[in-house]
Symmetry: C2
Subunit: 321 residues, 2 copies
């Protein structure tokens, strides 16, 4: 299913989301305007705003309020990407030079802070204090996960459980903020809020697993960043963890991590994983999380938006970038 | 007047503030604990929490709520200092190596983010959405001011007006958040909230002017950072602006900025300013803002906390670090 078909129930609202995002550079102070424009220029598929809107659509939906929340979620996402890229000294994101590589780390820190705050302001303007609390918890989870990733880089001793916990904090937490807030702001019943929260959590885990798999098998031009990037940076993701489980002795990842960035070991690790059944195994695990996400929707009243959320669970498995 | 005498009406609550700050490292995730402990180790005079509490003390004061808000204000302050030091590559703060100089810039970015979020969580837990909005606006103001400072470094063409605006966003905004939130959370009448807001704004301006003066005349060991730091980093503050107004031709600051960091020009600029009447002129300007702050208090019901706020306006003029 095409993403445009999935977004059909919220098509108009997504146009408003894009307009609101574009308008942010006008409301930024002069010294921020160009930087904010650069940060928001290529909006991508806006998956997180979309699930925010879809989560609320079948309840007491208030368009203006929901567009505000959807934009807040996207701004938080962008702010965390900017800080990540700054911390990781990443050069390229979505096929474009990162803000920190163009304007320097210091500027990127401040633009990230500004977008965090712009997001917090939109969240506060929803007048729903529970959402403001979840917003804060999400930022805490994301920064903790990034810090953990930093500490454990080039360490091959990491379990699957730890990995799930880390991507839960790093990625799924924002999906949870999206679906939970969307449902809360539309006065969904508590049981529906919980169901949509766990839908978001499982969808987020699957999304990140696919992201991590694509770093092994994607095409550099489709991904917008070099393939094998995670491993070359010392970041262990699911494919690498499964490879280490399967072949604990004489594993090229151990050589790679012991001699930070040895290109032969990197090539060998990428090739071995790419040609093994590990990739399929990762897809199976992601599929399991997607099925779990779909099951969370079963108790919700049938609606077009509920079907879209269900289709999204298939969609994330098929994405190429 | 000693600071302990000024804090007398909120003495007990300040003990709770210190305890709550100390306890934050326990609630941090394991990978954050040492970093949070380092960031919060030397609490200083806790001026911002104190004015938060004092602003609310004579209204419907709820100790637990107010301590929460006071801690939130301090955490936001610390988070912004950590990001500032990261952006400025500062080595020393309050006589100790900065977090970024010990653990690196990347880690400092993430610890700052975590403390921003911890602050936002406390703010949200007050259940007062107006405070949450002001919190977000404050972060936007601070990050914009820092960015402007970055852009205008080593540029000698800066007016007093621009300087007041910049320190208004960088420093006074947090004083405003403190007093305005303190008053709001204690259900002060709107007129009192406004009065305390402008008190905070004026006090914050005076505080920053004194800070900037001390960078010219302070003793390095009392300040906990090298004297002349601002000018050597290309940051123009009030004493330097007045010097450039007075002596626009053949000014050593122009030489210093044209040859970034020339030590002879720096020494000459520091000496000339330090031995001129400019320092007294800056004190007079700061005194004017302090008097303005005191005048804002005139309409408030007389109370011990109101007198403490009044004494603080004198205190900031006398501080040595």
């Amino acid at each position: 299913m095409q993403i445009s078909a999935i977004y059909e129930p919220i098509q108009e609202d997504m146009v408003s989301v894009e307009e609101r995002i574009r308008s942010l550079k006008q409301s930024a102070p002069p010294q921020m305007a160009d930087l904010v424009e650069y940060a928001l220029r290529d909006p991508g598929k806006l998956l997180r705003p979309a699930i925010t809107l879809l989560a609320g659509k079948s309840f007491r939906y208030n368009q203006q309020l929901m567009v505000t929340m959807a934009v807040a979620v996207e701004l938080l996402h962008i702010a965390t990407l900017i800080h990540d890229d700054t911390v990781d000294k990443a050069q390229v994101r979505r096929g474009r030079p990162t803000l920190s590589s163009v304007w320097g780390q210091g500027t990127a820190v401040l633009v990230g802070d500004y977008l965090f705050a712009a997001s917090a302001e939109l969240v506060a303007s929803t007048d729903e204090i529970r959402v403001a609390r979840n917003f804060a918890k999400t930022v805490m989870a994301i920064s903790s996960a990034e810090l953990e990733a930093n500490y454990t880089s080039f360490d091959w001793r990491q379990t699957r459980e730890r990995y799930y916990q880390r991507i839960g904090n790093k990625t799924a937490s924002l999906f949870v903020l999206a679906t939970q807030s969307g449902a809360m702001l539309c006065q969904a019943p508590e049981a529906a809020i919980e169901a949509l929260k766990y839908y978001g959590y499982n969808l987020g885990l699957a999304f990140q697993i696919i992201d991590d798999v694509l770093d092994f098998i994607g095409e550099a031009d489709e991904m917008g960043k070099p393939v094998g990037h995670d491993l070359s940076q010392g970041t262990l993701t699911l494919p690498a963890i499964l490879f280490l489980e399967r072949q604990p002795e004489d594993n090229p990842i151990k050589h790679l991590f012991a001699n930070q960035g040895d290109p032969d070991s990197l090539r060998l690790a990428l090739e071995t994983i790419g040609n093994s059944s590990i990739i399929q195994e990762c897809y199976d695990i992601a599929l399991e999380f997607c099925s779990q996400a779909s099951r969370c929707l079963e108790g919700l009243p049938p609606s077009a938006s509920q079907r879209s959320l269900d289709s999204l669970a298939d969609y994330v498995l098929q994405r190429k970038r």
